[in-house]
Amino acid sequence: MGDSQYSFSLTTFSPSGKLVQIEHALTAVGSGQTSLGIKAANGVVIATEKKLPSILVDETSVQKIQSLTPNIGVVYSGMGPDFRVLVRKSRKQAQQYYRLYKETIPVTQLVRETAAVMQEFTQSGGVRPFGVSLLIAGYDDNGPQLYQVDPSGSYFSWKASAMGKNVSNAKTFLEKRYTEDMELDDAIHTAILTLKEGYEGQISANNIEIGIIRADREFKVLSPAEIKDFLEEVE
């Protein structure tokens, strides 16, 4: 493949018009644990698998879903350490916006700025692209919103989406199940069912993570006890 000769330098286009490093970054994302998000009429839910490398790992110390502001949360598929760096940068940008305007940052603006950071790392010297795709969920004056941001820096608004290992099955499942006027609790059930579809092994309250935001505009990560309740409702 002629492209492989051009995969050494990030900032060089290949003859087919691709930046090969970004393709490789997307591959890294595609082999990461499945995550998904669903936008309901009155809120947004994001969820991910939390498969730990060994039973000895303390699962309460692993937090794959994080909040960026009190009303915006994020989940990822791909490399955990890259995610942590992006979360830090995004939180700082949100606070800088607040310092300037004394107004909480709208979801679209934060997504745009995070995407701009990711794009910078595809056009600078001596750096590599981030090996994560993000699903950003928020609730602001424009209602509930769900955005996906890729390593290239492109972002898309979704009604429902999935990323990671099981992406095609998950998306097909979501396409069948999604309705425009879904309530948030239905969306949470659908999210759990979608995760269950592709899950290798037994799903439980300790090996998935769910974050929700309702019309009260407070993003929260559900505790294992709350996840257990939803799981029981599903079964």
Binding site: L100, E103, P106, T108
Partner: protein, 204 residues
């Protein structure tokens, strides 16, 4: 003579019932010599947001240009106009950036916010915000303006009454200040219309 008194200025804003008025004098001087009698001190940011800048004229013009620049970019990015409170925070941040080499201006911001609630505020040259429910003043005639506004102001005035009150307060105050005057410029803004008027005063 202090740098704030170099050009001479008077700016005042008042809150009425579902409306606000902002007014300024029209004199531009170089110390004691008058060199202009139609100088603009009140500027539009968007249809429901105005800023009056007293103090050094060159800083007023440059600051206004910077603010319009920031607001236009904000409009393009966020696809909406800035709320008056947000704009006031932006002005305050911009002024404080120059804390140790400030713009010699005292802004007066007036606008209609959410649900067309009138909003006014002023700040000092390094961005200390002062929100008020009734009126705000700035410029070389500010002390007289405080007195005139305090006695003439009453809450919940309609646009016509507000216009009369602010014009009288401005006229009376600039007449007691040799560095401001030469007529006045008054803007009354309601949710549906904007009325600009030039008022005649003592031309001296």
């Amino acid at each position: 003579m202090s740098i704030f008194e170099y050009n001479g200025s008077a700016v005042v804003a008042m809150v009425g019932k579902n409306c606000f008025a902002i007014a300024s004098d029209r004199r531009l001087g170089v110390q004691l010599q008058t060199i202009g009698t139609d100088f603009q001190r009140v500027f539009k940011i968007h249809d429901k947001l105005y800023i009056g800048l007293s103090g050094l004229a060159t800083d007023a013009q440059t600051l206004y240009q910077r603010l319009v620049f920031r607001h236009k970019l904000y409009q393009l990015r966020e696809e909406r106009d800035m709320k008056p409170e947000t704009f006031a925070s932006l002005v305050s941040a911009l002024l404080y950036e120059k804390r140790f080499g400030p713009y010699f201006c005292q802004p007066v911001i007036a606008g209609l916010g959410e649900n067309d609630e009138p909003f006014i505020c002023t700040m000092d040259c390094i961005g200390a915000k002062e929100l008020a429910k009734d009126f705000v003043v700035s410029g070389t005639a500010s002390e007289s303006l405080y007195g005139a506004c305090e006695s003439m102001y009453k809450p919940d005035m309609g646009p016509e009454e507000l216009f009369e009150t602010i014009s009288q307060a401005l006229r009376a105050s600039v007449d007691r200040d040799c560095l401001s005057g030469w007529g006045g410029y008054v803007l009354v803004v309601t949710p549906t219309e904007v009325r600009e008027s030039v008022i005649k005063g003592r031309m001296d």
